[in-house]
């Protein structure tokens, strides 16, 4: 240590080399992120641009058209496109119903378990914590196929014992979505709860409020932005989910991603580009709302 700080002889060549390396590094630190942004955005831009292309080709630009959007929305079905407005809208409806119900259930359960983990103190708390993390760290495909096996076993059992024939559908999809949504809601709400000043709750109970009243009058309003962020995240994840839905929806239930998957498997058609562009627009609006909410939180907190 001491010997190093003594050595103040100046090696000009070394300094020059170091400066060159640093300059190159600085340029690289700008160029590399620019490349990353290009990489992230180029496919989306290509998709959006070719959704307005006056040709079925995705290779060359033939002029501007709104034809594909017209096809999607008007119900005029080209034989080539194999596209149906009616099916798309019903798939969208199913997606929204699934996402709404799954979000509602997961938000209530997820907020409750967050309260329990942050404020509670009981044996086995870390076990609950670990259990809550599992759906996030286990690959989704495992969750999807295990639910498929589970429901098929349950339905077989119910069928043979009671004669009632159950089949997978919207209910099984919602149950599956709630599983992963509970974890995500809990992650977001917990963070908010941990940031909250606990003295406020103490003050409320000192002033004679019972725990129920304390929660609704003090805790809930303070963590509401967190609950809303968690719910929005759950809603988006649910709306976007393909894998769990694909395995547990049964033949009669189609969500928008499952419908889009079918279209992609059938053919590459410009209607998918147009539909994708609309879905992109919808996610942009959702994330805008969520960021505005978080921005307001940050401003207040």
């Amino acid at each position: 240590m001491a010997t190093r700080s003594m050595a103040i002889h100046i090696d000009e060549g070394r300094i020059r080399r170091d400066l060159t390396v640093r300059k190159a590094g600085k340029i690289g630190m700008i160029l590399e992120p620019l490349f990353a942004y290009f990489f992230l955005w180029a496919p989306i831009i290509v998709l959006v641009v070719f959704s307005f292309n006056d040709s079925r080709s995705v290779a060359t630009w033939r002029g501007f058209t709104l034809r594909w959007y017209g096809n999607i929305l008007s119900g005029a079905v080209g034989a080539e496109a194999r596209f149906s407005t009616e099916l798309m809208l019903s798939a969208l409806g199913t997606s929204l119903v699934v996402a709404l119900i799954a979000t509602l259930i997961a938000t209530v359960i997820g907020t409750a378990v967050s309260m329990s983990l942050v404020r509670g103190n009981y044996p086995g708390k870390s076990l609950v914590d670990g259990l809550l993390l599992l759906p996030v760290v286990i690959p989704e495909i495992t969750q999807a196929v295990s639910l498929l096996l589970f429901f098929s076993a349950i339905f077989d059992f119910v069928g043979t014992t009671t004669g009632v024939r159950l089949s997978p559908g919207i209910g099984t999809v919602i149950i599956g979505h709630v599983v992963f949504n509970i974890s995500y809601v809990a992650i977001v709400v917990r963070a908010r709860l941990a940031d909250m000043n606990p003295h406020l709750e103490e003050a409320a109970s000192d002033l004679g409020a019972n725990p129920w009243r304390t929660f609704w009058r003090v805790t809930f309003p303070l963590i509401l932005p967190g609950i809303i962020s968690g719910a929005l995240l759950a809603f988006t994840l649910s709306l976007d989910d393909f894998v769990v839905t694909f395995f547990n929806s049964g033949p009669g239930t189609t969500t928008l991603p499952v419908y889009v998957y079918g279209l992609i498997k059938l053919s590459v058609s410009p209607e998918i580009n147009a539909l994708s562009t609309l879905m992109l627009l919808a996610s942009t609006v959702l994330i805008g709302i969520s960021m505005a909410l978080q921005g307001r939180n940050a401003g207040r907190g």
Partner: protein
């Protein structure tokens, strides 16, 4: 740290109520045990059952499905998936680390938010849509081939789609934000004065990076690697849409066994093997995490 912990554990609820806090965990416990733990347990049991006529699951218990998964037909798929997931993680790290630094070193808060937003927005776009975008770009009559043919650079379309390369590209694209966000979170907490301190103490750039910057951002790096590796190893959409018959991964293998007249016990065994790989990864992660903290 100790102080804030004390504060957070003394809420406005008495100790009896805090113990009662357990009741608030009950709905989540029931849901997760019934619809997550129990199903996974069923998969575990099924992976040892024999496949009878018309796909019926019967006794005796057998290890044959595990032997097949680890045997000559399926082992290459398993190893390929591991390799592709590993490469995806490394490429995401190389791309994502400087990007996270770039975002957190923007001067104004607004610029930082914009830089972050530009990473998150593609990430919130439907995964299928994002993968499909690569399908049209890489396709035989796709954008890249169209562009290169138009410029007269190639006469025959390049074979870009239905290759391992396309799968790798799609996976990196799909999971890059998972790498950037946790690294960004740790870079944000990083005290840049430490770099100055390291320079003052005579460290050069490389040494400063390896001894100061990297160790302090390592938690984010590890979290990012885990968040990329797990969905990459289990992915099924990306190889399905971009890999064709060439780029099959273990996710496709599992999917195939559960669609139509597939072999459920075989698919279950493949799921269990994949889960064990992931859990091993997490154990390594928590070991490293403990050592760095």
């Amino acid at each position: 740290m100790a102080l804030s912990f004390d504060l957070s554990s003394s809420g406005g609820y008495s100790s009896r109520e805090r113990r009662r806090g357990f009741s608030l965990a009950i709905p989540a416990l029931i849901w997760l045990v019934l619809f997550f733990i129990l199903p996974v347990a069923i998969v575990f049991v099924v992976s040892f059952l024999t496949r009878g006529q018309r796909g019926a699951l019967i006794l005796p218990l057998t290890l044959e499905h595990y032997e097949r998964i680890l045997g000559p037909v399926f082992r290459p798929v398993l190893f390929d998936s591991l390799w592709i997931a590993f490469l995806t993680t490394i490429i995401c790290l190389v791309l994502g680390y400087p990007l996270a630094f770039f975002i957190s070193t923007r001067k104004s808060k607004q610029m930082q938010n914009v830089a972050l937003f530009l990473v998150i927005l593609p990430f919130w776009t439907n995964f299928l849509v994002r993968t499909y975008a690569w399908q049209i770009i890489l396709g035989t009559e796709g954008t890249i081939n169209g562009l290169l043919t138009g410029l007269g650079l190639i006469s025959e379309p390049l074979a870009l789609i239905n290759t391992d390369f396309a799968v790798l590209l799609g996976l990196v694209y799909g999971f890059l934000p998972f790498m950037v966000l946790p690294i960004f979170a740790s870079v944000e907490r990083f005290e840049f004065r430490l770099v100055e301190a390291a320079y003052d103490l005579g460290a050069n750039d490389l040494r400063t990076f390896l001894r100061v910057v990297l160790p302090l951002t390592l938690p984010g790096v590890i979290a990012g690697c885990i968040l990329v590796f797990i969905p990459a190893i289990g992915s099924f959409i990306t190889p399905d849409l971009l890999g064709g018959t060439q780029g099959i991964m273990i996710g496709n293998l599992i999917t195939g066994q559960f669609r139509g007249s597939g072999n459920w016990p075989l698919g279950s065994a493949a799921s269990i093997v994949m889960m064990i790989v992931v859990i091993l990864g997490l154990v390594v992660y928590s070991r490293i995490g403990r050592r760095t903290s």
